[in-house]
Amino acid sequence: MIDLLTTHYNYIASILLVGIGLYVVMGSPNLVRKVIGMNIFQVGIFLFFVTTGYVDGGVPPIVGHTEGPIVSPLPHVLILTAIVVGVSLTAVALALIVRIYNGYGSLDEDVIKEVQVDD
């Protein structure tokens, strides 16, 4: 068990981040916190990808570093793309939240639901 913790702590960290992120998205009534939770959730997945590319004792995949095994650069490149997607999503989400706040005067999901029922 301890062995697993010391050798696979990066995987455990990414699973924890995914769990925390999902919990915040579902559990928090505040819309901005939900966006933060969504970001944490995505970062957990990004970390998972990045960590899979690492090779123990590996060298960076840069010209000049040829001795020893080379770290796989592909997952890192994929995650660069995914980070861009994540930033765009956050921007759209925040833009929507601004409109929701202008319309309802609240960021609390429960309050917004009540106002919608009253309409």
């Binding site: 969504m38 998972f48 793309t81 929507l96 409109r99 319309g103 919608q116």
Partner: protein
């Protein structure tokens, strides 16, 4: 020749930038850009379809990097009809939007971006690239849903954004598992590499990857109980947007699910892991029944159509689970048919709302007398959705039922037949009110008041009605030409059955 395949994606992305700049010159510039884009898109997809017709399967290596290392785009007998469908739907929606709106250049930018995303999902042969196109589709859809001015639309869009992002991220995590197991992302080479892994299909990494990818895509398809984002998104967006996204967005995701299940994991995987196929059949069947029952309960017509989509995509997913040739043909035909029918129905609702202000079940009383042509088109599309021959809805459902019987799953065949009755129940209610119920006295008074002051009848253009009628005629013609459509799809499906 194969360049047309990549241009199908590049052209709309380039066109998405133009309305923003041309907006300085004219408020209507966006429409002309969108029209030119959709006509060019139609031309390109016709070239691709023609190439597929002559040579079977065409492939394009993006940036000159040869697959499996580079990104590959592929068109075959299944994706080519879908690409043509995307072009024609885009053209129809653009023509409709000229009068119906939303009247802003940003709308046309988002529409072009969505066209690019959907074309990409259909054309790509790389699992990570599929994720990127799913997210482009998602981002454009969130913006389009929120283009309705009400804060309600923003709330619906944000909900869709949270659920959609988590779905797409689960899919991304699944591709990560597959990449760890195999070291490749190309769909065709993945199918070989998965078998070659030490534990093969029994490998926990591969199984987890499948579970995550399938769950993520099922969220995007909006299968019960993962459908919660969908009714709000369809109901709160402007009518033009509802029609476009209901016709294509879930369709593209369902096609992605088909590709991942049958190209990446193949039928051997479904045979080795029967629980995967069983889960598709179970989730699909539950979705068919639950979607129909929820649709019967709605009084808002747009919500009713939204829940109807949950039920119809249940059919498609069930057919993916059954997995024999007949059922898969039914699934692809129903994907195409559903897009024509549901898009047309939403556009018809837009006409009703603009001309007589009817949006709920009660307001539909006696509508046929006031809006005869559109009502007739609506009725044709509704009966097609129920599955009455010779329309396209029948061909899809018939093949799925026959496939289920061939596979010996009588329970599935029963569910499909029951769902047909439920579909008749919720569309019958609407048609009964339109044709056989006289409007109440108060309704007539209200209508005359609103005709005087609120919304003049001239809000509906000839073009809007024409698009609805064309959708209805297409649904019937596709049904009559159903065997030709099946002849195009069948050779591409044979590949999965060798």
């Amino acid at each position: 020749m194969t360049d047309a395949l990549v241009l199908l994606i590049v052209l709309p992305i380039a066109a998405a930038i133009l309305p923003v700049f041309l907006g300085i010159l004219s408020d209507r510039a966006g429409w002309y850009v969108a029209l030119a884009m959709s006509l060019a898109h139609l031309g390109l997809s016709a070239i691709v379809a023609n190439a597929v017709d002559t040579s079977g399967r065409i492939s394009y290596a993006v940036g000159g990097f040869q697959p499996p290392f580079g990104i590959e785009l592929v068109a075959d007998g299944i994706s080519a009809p879908l690409l043509v469908l995307i072009s024609i739907s885009t053209l129809g929606v653009v023509v409709y939007a000229r009068r119906a709106g939303p009247h802003s250049n940003a709308f046309y930018s988002e529409l072009a971006l969505l066209t690019a995303g959907i074309s990409g999902v259909v054309a790509t042969a790389d699992v990570f690239n599929l994720y990127v196109f799913l997210e482009i589709t998602g981002l454009a859809t969130y913006a389009l849903v929120a283009s309705g001015r009400s804060p309600r639309a923003a709330v619906a869009s944000l909900k869709y954004l949270f659920v959609g992002t988590i779905g797409a991220s689960l899919y991304l995590l699944g591709t990560g598992y597959l990449y760890i197991a195999t070291g490749t992302l190309n769909m065709a080479s993945l199918s070989e590499a998965i078998v070659a892994t030490p534990a093969g299909y029994a490998s926990p990494t591969v199984l987890t990857g499948f579970g995550l990818m399938a769950t993520g895509l099922l969220v995007k398809v909006a299968i019960f109980p993962l459908h919660t984002w969908q009714p709000g998104a369809y109901a709160e967006s402007p009518d033009t947007v509802s029609a476009y996204i209901s016709a294509l967005v879930s369709t593209a995701a369902a096609y992605g699910l088909f590709r991942v299940t049958y190209t990446v994991f193949t039928r051997d995987f479904l045979e080795a892991v029967p629980i995967a196929a069983d889960a598709f059949v179970l989730l699909g069947s539950v979705s068919i029944v639950a979607g129909s029952v929820l649709a019967v309960m709605q009084s808002d017509l747009k919500r009713m159509l939204a829940y109807s989509s949950v039920s119809q995509f249940g059919l498609v997913v069930t057919a993916l689970g059954i997995g024999n040739k007949t059922a898969l043909i039914g699934a692809v035909v129903h994907l195409i048919g559903h897009a024509v029918m549901k898009g047309g129905l939403f556009l018809a609702l837009g006409v009703f709302a603009a001309s007589v202000g009817a949006r709920t079940m009660d307001e539909f009383k006696g509508l046929a007398a006031r809006e005869p042509v559109t009502s007739a088109a609506f009725a044709v599309l509704a009966f097609s959705m129920v599955g009455i021959p010779p329309a396209i809805g029948f061909i899809g459902k018939w093949n799925i039922v026959v496939g289920a019987v061939e596979a010996g799953s009588w329970s599935v065949a029963l569910v499909v037949v029951v769902s047909t009755l439920l579909t008749l129940a919720y569309f019958g209610r609407v048609i009964e009110r339109m044709y056989f119920t006289h409007p109440d006295e108060t309704d007539v008074a209200d209508a005359s008041v609103s005709a005087d002051g609120g919304q003049p009848a001239s809000d509906v253009s000839f073009g809007m009605r024409t698009v609805v009628v064309v959708a209805a005629v297409t649904a019937v013609l596709l049904g009559i030409a159903g065997s030709d459509l099946i002849d195009i799809i069948r050779p591409a499906l044979e590949v999965y059955f060798v």
